[in-house]
């Protein structure tokens, strides 16, 4: 069997699944177990890199995984948007694994084998979503992602974790079965296919009422995109250990949600139909309100992870906004936001995890002076914050630009106000966190001295966020190639 785009596509699923099989086998030898995860991570990344190159050269690898239940075709097909998502998830998996090792060992967490296993399965599901060739496949991997992350969310096993997990599962399963599935059925019935195609699948003359209803169902059915008011699962899922929050709630799960949103608008509706659909205007307003409201709620959170969670809700709505504006530039902005936000937010979560591991602090008001003992972590946090805010030269500034252009192009200049307000709110709720660490004197200098000792033991919770922060900075300079890579997802490839 030669290594060609098809096999690479299959390996996308196979590599993490092999890891998921091997990890429990080596449960008694933690070092080998972790090595398996890392090797799988690098193998997957290499594989994705090949695929990205192929896709960049216009190859669209396609692989049927057969049909199930007679008439449901499971089909993988990689296009630039999916390749991008796969690239983010696979690259951050490696960094997050390093971080996870540091975190889990540093905090003496139980059930580490189960943890690594389900992370690997979740990655497989995320890869499946990235490469899904039709809505059914997308739906199946989407559900798989929910189920495989459920044990991760409830990892701690205490009452709080169970409650959070219950809300997580209930909202995600409920919306996907109650809204997403009917929407998929609707697409199948109206368009006769659920395949993804550049420019959309609906026949000309499809009633705009029908597309409005479908768009509505998709927007709220994809609960992972955390559009208000289906967002509460996200803050509630923060009971998970921080590596989970980092990978799954900055990368895999939420990004799977907004990726699906973008993919459906681009490949099922097609930008022009989505823009004509009256519902898209309403939903872009919902997204804009989500952006601002979640930021305001974030302001009020003292718990670091809770604040980051609401910040995520807000930032995810950027992508939804991009999808709903449906202008080519807006879709490009949404796609770039997926990339940039992933790197920025995972940095912030990892930093939060590092702070917890080293100093055992979770409240922002308790971070005074900690930056002096943990300068790298707080420095990384600052860079991540700036990227989220979207100031150059951080990657986060590009999506904002494209979204603004998109908003103008689709005649909704008023929505710029949401983006502007959000930037200012981001400054107010994100920057003080890191700066407080540097500037405020420590509340208890003795404890901090102890932390400085602790810090040396936890190298692996500190290095990964520094790397991702650097990544968030570097990405600024690669917006051009990324935009070129993504262009073919738009009909006519035109911006």
């Amino acid at each position: 069997m030669t290594y060609n785009p098809q096999t690479a596509l299959a390996l996308l699923l196979i590599i993490p699944l092999i890891a998921a099989v091997l990890i429990p086998i080596f449960r008694k030898q933690p070092n080998i177990r972790e090595a398996v995860t890392l090797i799988a991570g690098f193998a997957l990344l290499a594989n994705v890199a090949h695929l990205v190159i192929w896709v960049a050269h216009g190859v669209r690898p396609e692989l049927g995984l057969g049909t199930f239940a007679g008439n449901f075709e499971i089909k993988l097909k990689l296009e630039p948007l999916g390749a991008t998502f796969a690239a983010i998830a696979s690259s951050l998996w490696i960094l997050n694994t390093l971080f996870t090792i540091g975190y889990m060992r540093g905090n003496n967490e139980k059930n580490q084998t189960r943890f690594f296993t389900f992370v690997a399965i979740a990655i497989a599901a995320a890869m499946g979503i990235a490469a899904s060739g039709n809505l059914i496949t997308l739906f199946i991997f989407y559900e798989g992602l929910t189920l495989s992350t459920f044990p991760l969310v409830t990892h701690k096993g205490d009452a709080k974790a169970k409650r959070g997990g219950t809300i997580y599962a209930l909202i995600l399963m409920g919306t996907s079965l109650g809204l997403l599935l009917p929407a998929i059925i609707g697409v199948q019935v109206i368009a006769g296919t659920t395949d993804f195609m550049v420019g959309g699948v609906f026949p000309p003359g499809t009633s705009l009422v029908a597309t409005s209803v479908l768009l509505f169902l998709f927007a709220f059915g994809i609960g992972k995109a955390a559009l208000m008011p289906v967002h509460p699962w996200l803050p509630n899922a923060m009971v998970a250990p921080t590596p989970v929050s980092a990978l799954l709630h900055a990368v895999a799960v939420v990004k799977a949600g907004v990726f699906s949103m973008l993919k459906i608008v681009t490949f099922t509706f097609g930008p022009s139909l989505a823009a004509q659909t009256p519902m898209s205007t309403t939903l872009s307003w919902v997204a804009a309100i989500s952006i601002v409201l979640a930021s305001i709620i974030a302001l009020r959170q003292d718990n670091l992870k809770a604040r980051l969670a609401y910040s995520t809700v807000s930032q995810l709505s950027y992508v939804t906004l991009g999808a709903m504006l449906a202008a080519p530039m807006a879709i490009m902005g949404g796609a770039l936001q997926i990339i940039m936000h992933a790197w920025g937010k995972i940095t912030l979560f990892m930093c939060a995890g590092a702070i917890y591991t080293v100093a055992h602090r979770t409240e922002i008001s308790k971070l005074n002076g900690l930056g002096r003992t943990m300068p790298w972590v707080f420095g990384a946090f600052l860079i991540g914050s700036l990227s989220i805010i979207g100031v150059p030269p951080m990657g986060g500034s590009w999506p904002k630009f494209f979204l603004m252009v998109g908003a103008i192009d689709s005649g909704k200049a008023i929505l710029l106000a949401a983006l502007i307000a959000s930037s200012v709110l981001n400054v107010i709720y994100l920057t003080p966190i890191a700066i407080r660490g540097f500037m405020r004197p420590p509340d208890d200098p003795k404890a901090d001295a102890h932390i400085a000792e602790e810090r040396k033991k936890h190298r692996w919770v500190i290095i990964p966020p520094v790397i991702t922060a650097f990544g968030a900075l570097i990405l600024f300079f690669y917006a051009g190639p990324m935009a070129d890579f993504l262009k073919p997802i738009l009909p006519g490839g035109a911006l």
Binding site: F68, A69, I140, K162, L177
Partner: protein, 509 residues
Amino acid sequence: MDILSAYPAWLITHGAALLVVLPLLLGAITAILPRERLAWIVTLIVTLICTAAAFGLLLTIFGGETQLYKMGGWDPPHGISYVIDGLNTPVLLLISAMAVLCTIYGLPSVAAEVEPKKRAPFYGAFLIGVAGLLGMVATGDAFNVFVFLEVSSISTYVLVAMGASRDRRALTAAYRYLILGSIGATFFVIGVGFLYMETGTLNMADMARILSDLGGGSRAALIGFGFIIIGLGLKLAMFPLHMWLPGAYAYAPSFVTVFLASTATKAALYLMLRFTFTVFDPSFEYVGTVLTYVIISMAVLGMLLASLQAIFQTDARRTLAFSSIAQVGYMLLGVGIGTAASLSAGYLHLINHAIIKGALFFAVGAFWYRYGITRVEDFRGLSKMMPWTMGAFTIGGLSLIGVPFTAGFVSKYNLASAAASNGWWWAVGVIMATSVLAIIYIGRILLIAYFQDPPEVDGKVVAKKEAPLMMLIPMWGLAILSVVIGLNAYWMDRAADGAAQVLLLGVGG
């Protein structure tokens, strides 16, 4: 059809009669057998033969043949004829196969739940019940249907009442079932009487022909239709005629619960399909009206209300019982929409649900068998105490919810898709809402089982004690089957489409 060539010819040619006669006769004999083990073996063999016969018949149906078996060589309309076509053969196979699985399961289960002296009669009653069900599905004669209906019902009353050694409430439940079942059967026979008045025949094919000649018939046919629908509706636990069901399911022996849940209501539903679509015709405006307004509204009400009721039940078996009522709603929705796709989906759900509910009730029975547990709150830590049983329960539960790769997903998706194609978007909404309710009532059980620690008795955690193999085999058989259907529903779809074809085109009717 290589398998078919391995069959002895008589098993196919006389299969229709054999299916009914064999269990009926041997049931009587079994009842008086001295030893329970012997009774069990006989039962197993009989049900196996029936399954083989039903499977053979199904293969012939797939081969494109239908059979009209004349009892004793008498031609219809005067003699009693058995019809073997695409509509009833899958149900025949379902009933007999479920009977086999129940029997296997019964070896430990019956020993635990039924008094030793009553065990042989228990198996006898069971076989007679099987015979009744098979008979009412196989027969092509309306009065014969009534006879078998009564045969199966009476034996079922007995079987339910046998639960008394476990829970005295079984007696009241059985009594209630008896009263209501009798009302249903009476309504049915009154309906058949009206039809006879109208058409002068009891043969269903003749009735159909005459009715269609009459363009739906006079007032007698109308009233007959109403009686038949309500009578069968009661038997198949159509909302709000379901009141006998929760008690009967909850207090009968586990074995009986499984069998009832997966076959009795299904057979009744089959009859409703048979009468509504092949004896009558949806093109008769009164049939169409009843389907659209009565059946659909009762289906939707049942789906929603029974699901809500299921959420609040403290007893796991009652939860599942209410869930059954809700699931009947799905099937009735398929019937009510009345397109080929929807009928196929409803029919598929009929079979899938039997499989799913079978697995679930098997598991619940095993919990009782090991720990005496029936209440949901006692499920604490079951995932650790009985991991395999709980695993089967989980698969069944997910399938009931309709998670992809399970049987439940296929039939629900088909049903929703059929409703959408018909432009009934609200029905898609109801289906999805009910699925969400299903998440709640199944999720509630799963959460307790997986997330709460096993109880402690005298300061020690209750030890792990897996169900016996004889229980696990049928349970996992059904669980795996539900996943297999979820992965590849080709044969199921083919059977369901065949059934829908029979219903709409009247082939073989």
